[in-house]
Symmetry: C2
Subunit: 471 residues, 2 copies
């Protein structure tokens, strides 16, 4: 039996950061991992998906600038794209991440971790050997999520792809049906259209529905221009395989494709990790306070996707910094700063979660949508501006299309949300994130001058839309 | 004789904005313009220069991504680049801007404006007719700057280019010598290397010397890789033309080129506009307070480049908004808000001037450099990070090179300056501008989570470099 101050189950970016912060705070820590150290993001999500998307995006950018377009041939080189993806995931080897753990002073236990009691974890290795670990202070669960497979007759039988199969593609299918209209669905539709697949999306209502409505509209228009067929207004009834896969919709339509990607949501990877042993539902999401402590315990933390606060790598890492620090502080009996925006809490989860969808155009958003702000009871002013009207946009591309929205809480005169949709707009988002998190008053924001001619000049137009301030 | 509340001399973006704000505030206004309505920025500076630069930048971006590079041929299409530039400057016609003036309710008087006494301006038209204008409240001078021609024997005789000739180029010269190492010099070296000229830069000390030193170093390395020769360590002694132009340096070296671009600074366009009539030096910069009122007067404003506060279009427009508003407020006897960061002052001129240099890599900076902050007496912490180490950078390009720096005022624990150098980094700048202007404490900035994987994740690394906060 081996004892540590902290045991972390799941060595994705979140688990790594919890352990790293705790070790920096003077604790000993071990991470337990049954797959690759580095997790979903590094090998099967963010990193490979962006690699699949970038080549098409930069080619389209060059093809939309006179003087450059003459030097651009149509279409990506598929072998080059896949080679770049392979490099980005280090050919699915985790040596680099293991070295990082060693350098950070974090032990690694490979195998399947399971909570077996109060601050106790048993790890079953690939060869069946069982190691029992005891935590002096805390156990953190950061096992992330897996793709949800909806309960559709025949679907499991056709061996559908999940996000892992799509990001790990070796042989690009001639045709791909995608069930879903969220981030994974839209990004993979973009990528596979670039790679030469005939793509059909089967979408219950609209694309990117949690975002401002214009985001899904602009992404849909762009996908359709690139030949993606988007089928809405019905749901999947059944699936079968007849060589190609055949998806039958409830209204009788049939979609035929070589492969089917299911992108209809995520489930927590918390089944079989011993939650039932401590009175929590097996396979459920884990409810936590703002320090990531699981409700009803004083030793179990749930960090990242499993707590269902914000299913994004960067937000999980943010939670991990707070959790690792607070675990160390509590262990040494130090001061705890858990007031809103304190050192030991993840307050931004409630107010300022940023997200970029790497479609083309990109969608970048932070904070509340107009609808969400109204639902929260705020008096809201919505500031809209067509990004193509900004001088910087006309310099960037010959046919720039994009849209910006800022949502103002009129009572406090601060921005509580912003959404930008446009080619290569991702880097502009952090300006809005700082404005929202910093609660910078509009009167002060007017002194933050965007450089001319950048697309960021839209800030000027949004503030003008609010009207001139009085002295 | 015609009477207005406000007379503006110079109808560039700055003059247009002063007049527009005053009219929105209930005043009548006329702008006087001897050239094109829209000014230097629209026809001979920002707009055409960025058009000349964009095609090369997007091609290089595509050529540095595996899967895309296979579809990119080397080099821009010169005719396409020039056509794009022509479109951006509307073929040097100002019809659109004139229509905008009309729509905004601003009168236009074409001709050369000259102050002839207290709130009085005479305008000499192209046909010699003279119109006398009287201002009930204020006269604003926003005539901008022109290229400085250094006093070098023979230089004027070789008919050197200024920025106007470079941005307006029709026949790309086989070779171009550029005297200077500032923004215009670096941008035009980038553009003409792309257009196929053999470019030699003659630089007194270093490139982009007002910026953090690594900015000039990275731009220099990139230019030299593209074949630009950069001659430093001597000064121009004389110039002559022998078919090609011949520039002789003080150390005896000679640079031969088909054309010579002089980019050694700017002079105010205030000669011959009647400043002597009101006791001010003809041709000098105009000293103003933070409402842009010229010292010693209660009716004369100087807005934009002519006041020498910050020679940038966006900063001049910012001043123009304050000046137009305060002119209207003073005219109606309204409240004046001239405290720092107030409605009627351009406080950011002192603390947070953003600037993007559209070289490749781009240079984006705001606020104080480390050296400037130290000179200002602050206790400074400098946070540095290699941008290529950020996951978002490796997704963006296969051989990303860049550098970031944040300058922290340790006493207040706020960021007072930031510099980013990297390909396509311009849009990230506004995040730093809002942090500086908003004086957002580092403790709060840690809750502004950059979206993964964007280049903006460098914010996380910069804050980590400052160390972890205590509870």
């Amino acid at each position: 039996m081996t004892e540590y101050d902290l045991i972390v189950i799941g060595a994705g970016p979140v688990g790594e950061n919890v352990a790293d912060r705790a070790v920096q705070g003077g604790l000993t820590a071990v991470v337990v991992e049954s797959e690759l150290v580095g997790g979903e993001c590094s090998y099967w999500a963010c990193m490979p998906s962006k690699a699949l998307l970038r080549s098409g995006a930069v080619l389209r950018a060059a093809a939309d600038v006179d003087g450059a377009k003459q030097s651009v041939r149509d279409g990506v080189d598929v072998a080059g794209v896949l080679r770049r993806r392979d490099a980005m995931v280090h050919d699915w080897h985790d040596d680099g991440q293991v070295s990082w753990l060693e350098g950070a002073g974090i032990d690694l236990e490979r195998g399947h971790g399971r909570v077996t009691g109060l601050r106790q974890v048993s790890v079953t290795g690939a060869d069946g050997t069982v190691t029992t670990l005891t935590a002096r202070h805390a156990v953190a669960i950061s096992t992330g999520t897996a793709a949800l497979l909806p309960d559709v007759p025949g679907l499991a039988g056709i061996r559908p792809w999940t996000s892992r199969d799509a990001t790990g593609v070796r042989d690009v299918p001639a045709s791909l049906a995608i069930i879903g209209g969220g981030v994974v669905a839209c990004e993979m539709a973009t990528a596979f259209a670039d790679l030469g697949s005939r793509v059909t999306m089967i979408v219950r209502s609209r694309l990117l529905s949690p975002f401002e409505p214009f985001a899904g509209d602009l992404v849909r228009a762009a996908l359709e221009e690139r030949g993606v067929e988007i089928v809405t207004g019905s749901e999947v009834a059944s699936a079968r395989r007849d060589g190609d896969a055949v998806i039958s919709l409830q209204d009788g339509r049939e979609i035929v494709a070589a492969e089917v990607l299911v992108a209809t949501g995520r489930v927590p990877r918390t089944a079989g990790i011993g939650l039932d042993a401590i009175g929590l539902p097996d396979g459920g999401w884990l409810d936590v306070d703002d320090t990531m402590l699981v409700h009803g315990t004083d030793w179990l933390y749930a960090v990242g996707d499993v707590n269902h606060r914000a299913l994004l790598t960067h937000q999980g890492k943010y939670q991990a910094r707070a959790a690792g620090d607070v675990i160390a502080a509590r262990a040494r009996g130090g001061a705890i700063d858990d007031a809103p925006w304190g050192v030991h809490v993840a307050t931004a989860d409630h107010a300022a979660v940023p997200q970029v969808v790497f479609t083309d155009p990109e969608v970048a958003s932070v904070g509340l949508t107009a609808a969400a702000a109204q639902d929260a009871g705020m008096t809201v002013r919505v500031l809209d501006y067509d990004l193509s009207w900004v001088a910087g946009a006309s310099e960037a591309a010959d046919h720039y299309r994009g849209q910006a929205r800022a949502v103002v809480d009129v009572g406090r005169e601060v921005i509580v949300g912003a959404t930008f949709v446009g080619p290569d707009i991702a880097e502009l988002l952090h300006s809005a994130t700082i404005a929202v998190v910093g609660e910078v008053p509009l009167r002060r924001l007017r002194h933050a001058v965007p450089s001319y001619p950048t697309v960021g000049e839209v800030w000027l137009r949004l503030l003008e839309a609010y009207g001139r301030p009085d002295a």
